[in-house]
Amino acid sequence: MSGGVDSAVAAARAKHAGHDVTGVHLALARNPQTYRTGARGCCTLEDSRDARRAADVIGIPFYVWDMAEKFHEDVVDDFVAEYAAGRTPNPCLRCNEKIKFAAVLDRAVALGFDAVVTGHHARLGADGLLRRSVDLAKDQSYVLAVLTRAQLDRACFPLGDSTKAQVRAEAAERGLAVADKPDSHDICFIADGDTRGFLASRLGEAPGDIVDAHSGAVLGQHQGAFGYTVGQRKGLDLRVPASDGRPRYVLSITPKTNTVTVGPREDLAVDIVTATRPIWHGEPTPTECEVQLRAHGEVARAEVTVDGDGLTARLHTPARGVAAGQAIVAYRPDPAGDIVLGSATIALSERTTAEPGATAADSDPVGSADRSGLVRAAGAPSRA
C-alpha cells in the first residue's frame, strides 16, 4: 500500500471479496530523513501514514516492510547503471520485477500468504491472461508484462475492470481519505523530479561533444551524455543552426565516445526492434500482433518472433523515439482487453527502409557501430 488511492481500493476490494488481507507499505528510502518533507513520491512518511489510515478504515492489519536495501540495489543502482550505459530504464517495471513480485512476494509466501495484491490498473482474470485495464489512459499492463507465469499466478489486480474515476469514487464511498489524493507521476526515489540532476550527482559531470548525424560536425558540448534522451529537442543549446533551419533532435547517445548525436526528426524512425530477456507466454511465433515500445506509448502493428534468448519485432510502420532499456510489450488485440503475449528489453533498434521525406535515410556518418548503438526514447521515463 503506497499511500495512494489505487492500492487502498485494491486492498478494500480484496478484503470485501473475502480474502484474509494484510496491508504492507514498503519503506524504500535508505535514509527516510531525506524523504520526510517530500510531497511527491511513494515512500515519504506522509505516504506511510496515509497507507496506515487506509488500512485502519478498511479494517486490515498493516505493517511497514523495509525493502530499502534491496530497492537500492535492484532498482536505483540499476537505474543509474542503465543510464550510464546509454539506455533508458523503466524503474517501475524493475520494481515490479524485482521488488513487489519478487522480494515482497517471496517473503509473503514464506510467511504464509498466497498472493500479492496491488493497485495496478491491469486485468488478470480466471483465464490467467494479463490484459490492459478498461481505463486505457491508466493502463499499467506495460510495466507488469515483465512478470513470469509463476509471478502472475501469485498476483492479484482488483482494479483492472474500473476506470480511475470509478476507483476514486469508490474510495470516497468507502470513506478513504486518499480518494482525492493527487496521482504521483514522478520517479519515487527522485523526490524533486530532477532526473538529470539526480544522475549527475551520481555519475559526475562528463563533458562531451554533440555531433551532427549527417555531417559529423561538432555542434556543441554537453555536460554528460546521460542528461539527454532520444527524441529530445529542447535544451540542446546548439550554437550552429542547421543548414535547412529545421529543428534537430537527439538521435542517439553513445557512451563509449560520450557523444550525443543529433539530426532531423525523420531520422528517429526505426522499423526493426531487437530485444533481450524475453518473457513469453506461449503464443507460437512469428505472430502478427501489436507492440508497445514505452510506457503510455502508442502501439504499432508488428510481426514478432521469439527464440531462445531474444525477441525481434518487424514494425509495419516505423516508430520514433525507441530507446534501448525500455520494454517492448506484445499485445493481442481483444474485445475483453488486449492480451499481453510477452515482453522483452529493447537492445537495438534499426531502420531498414527509408521513410518518405527522409534524406540520406540509411547513411550513417557517425559510423555503423554508433548508429546501431543504443538509442533512447523521447522524454523521461514515465512512472507507471
Binding site: D20, V21, P32, Y63, A103, L111, G112
Partner: protein
C-alpha cells in the same frame, strides 16, 4: 479464498495474549476510577476561588502520595506530560542551567534521552560521552569513575537509565550516582521501566533527577513526573504561567495527575509481591521458549533484570516477520525500537551490547504486567515454534535468487 498466515495455520479463533506491557500496560481499576471522578470536577489548580482550590488540593495530595512512595519530598515532584518530557527537561534543562560543556549518557538509553543528548551535541555544542555497556547491557562503574576523573569538572549532567526498556538490564544506579555526587555532578535516571517493577527510592538512590511515567505502571498516558532535587538548577523547556516550581509551565492535568498518583502508589506498594509473581511467570516463559527454540539467545542480564522482561534473539529470523506472524495469532509483542515510519531498525541497545546487525534485527521482546497470566504464555508458546519456522523461511528472500 486466499488465506493469510492466520488462516493458513488452521487457527480458527483469535487467542489474545498481550505481551507488550513495557510499551503500555492497562490502567489499574482504581486509577481509572480516580481519573473519572476527578474529570467530572471543574477547577484549574492555579485559580484562586473554591473550585480552583479544590483542584489544587487534589494535585497537592497527589504530589504528596507520589513523593511518599518514591522517597522524595513533595516539592521535588514536578508533574509533566510523561517520560519523554521528563527526560528532555532533565537532560537539556540541567545542561543549560549548569553552563558546562560535557554531557554523559549510556549508549543504551531510551530515545527520549538518547536523542535529547544527541541534540545537545549537534545543536548546543555539547561534548557527549556515551558510556559503553558490556554484553549484558551493564554500564561499567569503574569506567564511569575513570571518565569522572578525566573530565569531572566539565560535566554538566549525567543520565543513565535505571533499567533498560528493551533487554531489561538493571543498572548499578546507586554506585554510579554516588560517584557523580562525589564529583558534584547532577545525575539523572530514566526510571520509566523501573518504578513498580523494582524498588525505587529517590533519596536512597542518591540521584538528582528521576523520570517516571504514568502509563507504564497502570496510570493514564500523557502524565508523568520528574523528581528533581530541590538544589538542582534546571532551565525550563517551555515558558508560561510558572507552574511546577517555575520549571514546567502549563495548566496541570488534574484528573491525570490524580490517577497517576493512585497508580504510582498502588504499583509501588504492591511491587514486591507483583515482582515475585511476574518473575515466576517470566521464568516459565523463558524456559519454555528455550525448550521450543533451542538456539534462541536470551539477551540482557539474567540476574539483575526487570522481573517482567524476556528478550530473545531468534537466529535466522527477522524480528518484524516474527511479530507479524505472532500478531496474526493474537500475540502482541515488540521488536524493540521502531522509528516513526514504522520500519524496524536494528536495536541500538543490542548493537551497543556487541550484537551484530543480524542478531539485533532478529530480536523480540516479551514483557508481562499486572494482567498477565499463564494463559498468555501458553498462547505465545502455541504460536512461536511455527512462527519461527516460517520466519526462517521468509529470510530466504534476502539471499540471491
Amino acid at each position: 479464498m486466499r488465506a493469510g498466515p492466520f488462516g493458513a495455520l488452521g487457527i480458527s479463533f483469535r487467542v489474545m495474549a498481550y505481551l507488550d506491557h513495557a510499551a503500555t500496560t492497562p490502567m489499574l481499576a482504581e486509577a481509572l476510577d480516580a481519573y473519572v471522578a476527578a474529570a467530572r470536577q471543574i477547577g484549574n489548580p492555579s485559580s484562586l476561588h473554591a473550585d480552583g482550590r479544590c483542584a489544587r488540593r487534589q494535585v497537592e495530595e497527589s504530589r504528596e502520595r507520589v513523593a511518599a512512595v518514591l522517597g522524595a519530598r513533595p516539592s521535588e515532584v514536578i508533574f509533566t506530560s510523561g517520560g519523554t518530557e521528563s527526560d528532555n527537561l532533565a537532560t537539556k534543562g540541567i545542561f543549560w542551567a549548569r553552563g558546562l560543556p560535557r554531557v554523559v549518557a549510556s549508549a543504551v538509553e531510551h530515545h527520549a534521552v538518547l536523542d535529547s543528548v544527541d541534540w545537545l551535541g549537534s545543536h548546543e555544542q555539547a561534548t557527549v560521552d556515551w558510556l559503553p555497556v558490556d554484553d549484558l547491557g551493564r554500564v561499567s562503574v569503574p569506567g564511569f569513575a575513570e571518565l569522572l576523573a578525566a573530565h569531572g569538572p566539565e560535566i554538566a549532567v549525567v543520565s543513565v537509565q535505571w533499567a533498560n526498556n528493551e533487554v531489561g538490564t538493571v543498572q548499578p544506579i546507586a554506585e554510579l550516582a554516588a560517584l557523580a555526587a562525589q564529583a558534584g555532578i547532577p545525575f539523572h535516571t530514566d526510571a520509566v521501566q523501573a518504578v513498580g517493577q523494582v524498588p525505587v527510592d529517590f533519596a536512597g538512590s542518591g540521584v538528582a533527577a528521576l523520570t517516571v511515567s504514568g502509563h507504564k505502571l497502570g496510570g493514564p498516558v500523557g502524565v508523568g513526573a520528574l523528581l528533581l532535587g530541590r538544589d538542582v538548577a534546571c532551565t525550563p523547556l517551555s515558558h508560561g504561567g510558572g507552574q511546577e516550581r517555575d520549571v514546567r509551565s502549563g495548566t496541570l492535568d488534574t484528573p491525570g495527575v490524580v490517577a497517576f498518583a493512585v497508580a504510582v502508589e498502588a504499583a509501588t506498594k504492591t511491587q514486591q509481591e507483583y515482582a515475585v509473581r511476574v518473575a515466576t511467570l517470566r521464568d516459565d516463559l523463558v524456559s519454555r521458549v528455550r525448550a521450543a527454540v533451542p538456539d534462541a539467545i536470551y539477551n540482557g542480564d539474567p540476574d539483575r533484570r526487570l522481573p517482567a522482561n524476556a528478550h530473545f534473539s531468534f537466529p535466522g529470523c527477522e524480528g518484524d516477520a516474527l511479530l507479524l506472524l505472532l500478531d496474526a495469532q493474537g500475540v502482541s509483542c515488540s521488536t524493540g525500537s521502531a522509528c516513526s515510519a514504522g520500519v524496524a531498525q536494528p536495536s541500538h541497545v543490542l548493537l551497543a551490547m556487541g550484537a551484530n546487525d543480524d542478531r539485533a534485527r532478529s530480536s523480540l521482546r516479551f514483557t508481562l504486567g499486572h494482567t498477565s497470566t499463564e494463559a498468555d504464555v501458553d498462547a505465545l508458546l502455541a504460536a512461536l515454534p511455527g512462527a519461527v519456522e516460517r520466519a526462517r523461511r521468509a529470510t530466504a528472500w534476502k539471499t540471491p535468487r
